[in-house]
């Protein structure tokens, strides 16, 4: 379980998270929506210990993420993360991209790492691209590679930061389909997204972020189709 408890986070004088609390249970899919600058991506970066927090607490399976004694590299193995920019490693083939971390981080044998990487690449529909260099692929394919690369570490949770925002519109569908598949398989996910249809159909719960706080959180269909908070109503009327 991921437990975010009253987290505050500032960049200089700018307070981005102003007391955020959120519990995400195993097997649950939570989508985070909200305007740009509302702090939703920052929350993911804090959960993954990429950004430090100012106060509050984040627990992942009861481990305090930001405690000094926590081995953050080890913790990140549990938390797969995919970003807006796919960040494929350009000097490696698709297969090498996905096999690298299992081999050097989990110290698997080369054969084992390749086997897992192959399996995850087939999982996201890239089974026929193993020896291709990622720069020769479309953004959608590279983003699916990023998902497979994270899955190859066998994470317990997936943090997805606007993974379709940088894609051409016609490529969004293939990436969302991959995420749908993961949700059906029971992967625990926190998705920061602008895809309201996806948030409504795939997630269990939706949280609406407004100026560094969660203004509304609830069952996905309810928040998207029948928001209670006027701020959520205003936001949704603008993005529709």
């Amino acid at each position: 379980m991921i437990s975010v408890q009253n987290v505050h986070k500032s960049f200089g004088d700018l307070e981005v998270l102003k007391g955020v609390s959120l519990d995400v249970n195993r097997g649950e899919v939570v989508s985070v929506i909200g305007g740009s600058g509302s702090g939703k991506s920052t929350l993911l970066y804090c959960i993954n210990a990429i950004e430090p927090i100012n106060s509050g607490k984040i627990l992942v399976d009861d481990v305090d993420v930001h405690a000094k004694e926590t081995n953050k590299d080890k913790l990140r193995q549990k938390l797969g993360m995919v970003f807006q920019q796919w960040n494929s490693f350009p000097h490696m083939t698709v297969l090498e991209n996905a096999a690298l971390a299992p081999r050097i981080v989990k110290k698997m044998s080369k054969e084992e790492a390749i086997e897992i990487a192959k399996k995850e690449l087939e999982h996201v529909g890239l089974g026929d691209k193993l020896d291709v260099y990622p720069t020769k692929m479309s953004g959608g394919q590279q983003q699916r590679l990023a998902i497979a690369r994270a899955l190859a570490m066998k994470p317990d949770y997936m943090l997805l930061d606007e993974v379709t925002s940088a894609l051409d519109p016609e490529l969004v569908g293939e990436v969302l389909d991959t995420l749908r598949l993961l949700a059906e398989e029971g992967m625990t996910m926190i998705c920061v997204t602008h895809e309201m249809g996806f948030a409504r159909d795939v997630s269990d719960r939706v949280a609406y972020f407004h100026q560094g706080v969660i203004a509304e959180i609830g069952e996905a269909r309810q928040v998207i189709t029948d928001p209670q908070n006027p701020l959520t109503q205003k936001f949704l009327s603008k993005v529709r």
């Binding site: 080890k74 797969g80 970003f83 960040n87 981080v105 994270a150």
Partner: protein, 217 residues
């Protein structure tokens, strides 16, 4: 009748080959040492804060801005005056290596900086440590990006090595100067020497283009 000058003959080829060999040796030393030191300094510069960079930068600026020929003369005279004159090869290697390092460090710094922070965060998010990220991601991507510049610096070092002749190192140019003063055939000899430099450099630049194509990303 004995002439003051003796024309160029086959017996001079040994001397010329020694010059060629010495040019190659000092160039290889300078490129290897300059590359290793340049990698370290370039990495430190890419990683460091502004204060450290200003300090590093000014030393490198001196090495880059003062003409190599002056650095060579100053260094070997200074060391000689201190009472421990160095062999021309040693003094030349030191100066040429540091001079190369100054250029290489800028090449590698831009290489390291060309790898975006988001790429590094992506690597870290997979559980890689800082050093794994440097070794598996930053270094290989950065080096590929700057390979053409590295090759350019290396080729100019080969040509710059001719300047080490001023402190008495018997490289290609100095051997040819000796031959010129004996034979009074400057045209033939300098054309020949030019061809030798071309023969040394051309395969390298050609091979470089091949490598560049092969690892294009």
């Amino acid at each position: 009748m004995n002439s003051l000058f003796t024309p160029l003959s086959w017996s001079d080829s040994g001397l010329i080959l020694t010059g060629v060999w010495n040019t190659i040796i000092i160039s290889v030393v300078a490129i290897v040492v300059g590359t290793v030191l340049g990698l370290i300094v370039g990495f430190l510069r890419a990683e460091s804060n502004k204060a450290v960079n200003v300090l590093f930068g000014s030393v490198l600026d001196v090495l880059r801005s003062v003409p190599l020929i002056i650095q060579l003369i100053l260094f070997s005279t200074f060391v000689g005056a201190m009472g421990n004159p160095l062999a021309p090869f040693v003094a030349g290697s030191i100066v040429l290596s540091l001079y190369t390092m100054a250029f290489m460090s800028e090449v590698f710094r831009s290489g390291f900086e060309s790898v975006s922070p988001s790429m590094q965060i992506a690597a870290r998010s997979l559980g890689m440590t800082k050093w794994q990220t440097i070794y598996h991601i930053r270094l290989p991507i950065g080096l590929r990006a700057v390979f053409p510049s590295w090759l350019g610096v290396s080729l100019s070092v080969i040509k710059d090595s001719a300047l080490v002749s001023v402190i008495g190192y018997m490289e290609l140019l100095r051997t040819s100067e000796q031959l010129i003063s004996r034979t009074q055939q400057p045209l033939e000899i300098l054309i020949g020497v030019g061809i030798f430099y071309f023969i040394i450099s051309y395969p390298l630049s050609h091979y470089g283009r091949y490598v560049e194509r092969k690892m294009a990303i």
